[in-house]
């Protein structure tokens, strides 16, 4: 299969700033999503370092509580709404049209609009720091009555507007992905030959489309309460405080699957390539992903077990049940490794990090599904440990696997393997040193969202350890950034298919031409490039 023939000038062509700002090309927009998301990852990370600095020692007077509450609120809001959700959308944006053999997304200009709403929203949210009472400070969950005007300032209004903008961006993107996946697949690309990454983008888009409008409605109601004399969530004037929680979590639980499914798709791309065998149980994966998506709508009130307003056995049952399809995926990934020939390049290291860390996050979540245990662990550092094991140990490690895997395709250059391994080792160690002690802190009774704790509590040692770990995580970003900057200029030239990949993006040049493909190989399975490489297409006479 021939390398796509481009003009000699193509590999050295650098797009102008004007082209980047006005592009509707899904590949450039995907890269814009990635870069923008990493900017907010770093800002969110600095806010986290602020949180960890304050908690490093007991009775610390470094950061006053009013500011501390803004730091953790914006840390979570930036990480969830401006980093993890958009970066996975960005990967999907870059990879999905290529993997289905399409020339672009269905709606390229709406694609651009979806992106540009994000930096705007981020600026609006951060502008809260410039207001007299500071940025939003009620936690990313923004419970009422605390989020009502009586207890909060303009920063909260800015937060509401920003999140509404981000939700709109997501909804537009989800429609774009669904139409693209259903209507623009190349001939031979049937639904059950779609790469798993495309399936995860599909299910994620369904979740976004169904759940995000619910959040938008909650945000509008909160805005009306705060600014137009509404009483939706204010009990003192006839409203219901728990109503906010129900509407919020009805979105925010499916949202956590929005925050991980595409990362699982990335892992499902990387493991087969670096094991040199197909993903084990492709159809089981598809059904498990769809099952997780559907079940994800039935568990929201497990965030509200302690409110006294929930029918506990139902939500406990559904929460336990969702462990089953998740386990099926874990076992299928491990079975992919079994009897393979593993090449420990950086993408595989991060994918293995995902498997080992996401397992812990899934197990510690099961404790909270047991309602009486949740009564003890809810709103403590146990939950902080859980959410970071699934979101950081899970999603972020998946994102890093994707970066190292597709950087060659996006830029035409390989990232340096040694720097990649240093990045992985530092991040893995720093992550565990930061977040494992939080299980213990939660068991010992340390609640979340407290700016300060007494020296008599005995929590000082583990908090200091967690702070040290956070500094190691920050340090791990340095080899990563250095790697990206140096490799862009002088990394090894990648060629079309540096990893011996399976899927269609490896059937074109690195980077691809604007129209993606000069020539598509025959599509007869979920691994068309693998098939073509090993003579399994009908033009070679052997049926796979």
């Amino acid at each position: 299969m021939a390398t796509t023939a481009l003009t000699p000038a193509a590999t050295t062509y650098r797009s102008s700033l004007y082209e980047w700002v006005t592009t509707t090309d899904h590949k450039k927009i995907g890269i814009l999503y990635l870069v923008n998301s990493f900017v907010f990852f770093f800002i969110g990370g600095i806010l986290a370092l602020g949180v960890r600095s304050q908690l490093a020692v007991p009775e610390n007077k470094l950061i006053p509580p009013e500011l501390y509450n803004q730091l953790f609120t914006l840390h979570a809001s930036l990480m969830l709404f401006l980093f993890i959700i958009p970066i996975l959308a960005g990967f999907a944006n870059y990879v999905v049209p290529l993997q289905i053999g399409a020339p672009d997304m269905a709606f390229p200009r709406i694609n651009a609009l979806s992106f540009w709403m994000l930096p705007l929203a981020g600026i609006i949210m951060l502008a809260g720091f410039l207001t007299p009472n500071g940025a939003a400070a009620e936690g990313w969950t923004s419970y009422s009555p605390l989020a009502q005007r009586a207890y909060s300032g303009t920063g909260t209004d800015l937060w509401v507007v920003a999140v509404t903008l981000i939700g709109t961006s997501s909804i537009l993107g989800s429609i774009n992905f669904l139409v693209t996946i259903f209507k623009m697949r190349a001939p031979g690309m049937t639904m059950f030959r779609l790469p798993i990454l495309v399936w995860t983008a599909l299910v994620t888009s369904v979740l976004v489309l169904m759940a995000t409008p619910v959040l938008t409605s909650a945000l509008i109601m909160l805005f009306i309460d705060r600014n137009y004399g509404g009483h939706f969530f204010d009990p003192a004037t006839g409203g219901n405080a728990v109503l906010w929680q129900n509407i919020f979590w009805f979105y925010s639980h499916p949202a956590v699957y929005i925050m991980i499914l595409i990362a699982m798709g990335i892992v499902s791309e990387v493991l087969p390539v670096f094991s040199r065998k197909p993903l084990f149980g492709y159809k089981a994966f598809v059904f498990a992903t769809a099952g997780i998506g559907a079940l994800g709508f039935s568990v929201w009130a497990h965030h509200m077990f302690t409110t006294g307003t929930v029918y506990l056995p139902f939500f406990s049952f559904m929460t336990f049940l969702i462990a089953v399809p998740t386990g099926v995926k874990m076992f299928n990934w491990i079975a992919t490794l079994f009897r393979g020939q593993l090449r420990f390049s950086t993408p595989l290291l991060f994918a293995l990090g995902f498997l080992t860390m996401f397992l812990i996050g899934g197990i510690n979540g099961a404790f909270s599904a047991a309602v009486p245990v949740d009564f003890a662990l809810h709103d403590t550092y146990w939950v902080v440990a859980h959410l970071h094991y699934v979101l950081f140990g899970g999603s972020v490690f998946g994102v890093m696997a994707g970066v190292y895997y597709w950087f060659p395709k996006m830029t035409g250059r390989m990232l340096n393997e040694t720097l990649g391994k240093i990045h992985f080792v530092l991040m893995f160690i720093g992550f565990n040193v930061t977040f494992f002690p939080m299980h213990i802190l939660g068991l010992e009774g340390m609640p979340r969202r407290i700016a300060m704790y007494a020296s008599s509590s005995g929590w000082g040692g583990l908090n200091l350890l967690a702070t040290v770990g956070s500094i190691v995580i920050a340090a791990s970003m340095l080899p990563f950034l250095w790697n990206v900057l140096v490799s862009l200029r002088s990394g090894e030239v990648a060629g079309d298919d540096p990893w011996e990949g399976n899927t269609l993006e490896w059937a074109t040049s690195s980077p691809p031409p604007p129209y993606n493909f000069d020539h598509l190989p025959e599509i007869r399975s979920e691994r068309p490039v693998f098939d073509a490489r090993h003579g399994r297409t009908s033009s070679h006479g052997t049926r796979a």
């Binding site: 089953v324 090449r343 099961a366 407290i450």
Partner: protein, 397 residues
């Protein structure tokens, strides 16, 4: 090309791995008891002890699953790393339906078991005694706790502990070995009542009254248990602590009588007293309830011996659906709001829908006196403007 095997007897390796794995699991579970921080604290209540048992069951299963699955990953990473002799592709196994079924059914059985044992424990934790030894209302407001002790009817207030100042915990004293009934009330934002050694927390939600029981182990008499708010409530959230002190029943009775006597000796709060029993919880600390001022609209002060009508609000409803008043003279509605931390009022409408009288909002538990101007004979609907489902009819004749 035949697949090249580097290890001869695979069954033996598998058996050996399983044995090592099982041994490691048991060793870890055994060693874990040497690290008490991996477990919640030893529970001080009977409910907490049941929660701890449930935690232990989940923990053992978690360790087994963790060791087995992480072990499988580590094994695969070591055993199946690519070797220079691996020139051909490995077997391109696409899947196996039988193992898919097995590893779907086994986890389903495990989670069903966990669900059932946790539901059983839940029933124990949620159970409420018919005859609690003490009834208390825990009042959470930004940023301190106070405890209102109630008589056995669950309504009559006895006294309130002083709300905590800086560095001084609000303290709830209880007799050990008896069921303590706690109602949770907040006049401002959501808080949470959390005592780590009870392995328990419950939200304090304004607008509703959560209620639970706990029984301190008789063996823990004399102990003091630290508690703190566990739901973000503002800048003072981290300092919103309290204590629960378990004493013997005789000591508790003595302490209770001392507190009641001390409360009676202090000057009564200004403003109208809380008339009638509080129904679903009391107001915060000993602060005087807001008084319902005479209504702005309508007549000047009532003449001597004005007719009085009693009306109360309880559980978001009026206690009477019909009231009567004389025509042509001003009259007084003595209004009692029995819903803690909830606002009610009385608004009387003319038959044509216009407002005849609108009383000021009263935040429960409190009373107010509404001076209503003279009305002509007729039937006047009245309602609460905060809760329009609260309605009734005033007959004036």
């Amino acid at each position: 090309m035949p697949f090249m095997r580097s290890k001869p007897t695979r069954p033996a390796t598998l058996v050996a791995s399983l044995a090592v794995g099982l041994g490691a699991t048991l060793a870890v579970a055994g060693c874990a008891s040497q690290f008490p921080e991996l477990y919640p604290p030893t529970a001080a209540t009977s409910q907490g002890a049941d929660v701890r048992t449930l935690y232990d069951i989940v923990f053992i299963l978690a360790v087994i699953i963790f060791v087995a699955v992480e072990g499988a990953i580590i094994f695969a990473v070591w055993r199946y790393r690519r070797k220079p002799t691996d020139t051909d592709l490995p077997p391109q196994t696409h899947g196996n339906n039988l193992v898919e079924i097995i590893w779907t059914i086994i986890p389903t059985v495990i989670v069903l078991y966990l669900f059932i044992v946790s539901w059983q424990t839940l029933n124990t934790v949620e159970a409420k005694s018919d005859h609690p030894g003490v009834r208390v209302a825990a009042v959470a407001k930004r940023f301190s706790w106070s405890f209102l002790y109630l008589a056995n009817d669950g309504k009559t207030p006895l006294f309130t502990t002083t709300a905590a100042g800086d560095g001084v915990f609000g303290t709830m004293v209880v007799p050990a070995g008896e069921a303590i009934d706690v109602k949770l009330v907040s006049p401002d934002v959501i808080h949470a009542f959390y005592v780590p050694k009870f392995l328990f927390k419950r939200d304090v939600v304004p607008g509703r009254t959560n209620e639970f029981d706990f029984t301190v182990d008789p063996g823990d008499v004399g102990q003091t248990f630290r508690g703190q708010c566990a739901e973000l409530c503002g800048s003072g959230h981290g300092g919103m602590t309290f204590e629960v002190k378990a004493v013997s029943r005789p000591d508790f009775d003595k302490w209770l009588q001392e507190q009641i006597a001390a409360a009676k000796a202090s000057p009564p709060p200004s403003g109208p007293p809380a008339s009638g029993p509080p129904a679903s919880g009391p107001p915060a600390s000993g602060a005087p309830p807001p008084s319902g001022a005479p209504p702005p609209s309508g007549a000047p002060g009532s003449p001597a011996a004005a007719a009085e009508v009693d009306l109360a609000a309880q559980n978001i409803a009026f206690d009477k659906s019909t009231i009567e008043a004389p025509a042509g003279v001003p009259f007084v509605i003595k209004f009692t709001n029995n819903d803690a931390a909830t606002q009610h009022n009385v608004e009387i409408k003319n038959p044509d829908g216009s407002v005849a009288f609108k009383g000021d909002l009263v935040t429960g538990v409190a009373s107010a006196t509404y001076n209503v101007p003279p009305l002509k004979s007729g039937s006047y609907p009245f309602q609460c403007t905060v809760h329009p489902t609260m309605t009734g009819t005033l007959t004036v004749k």
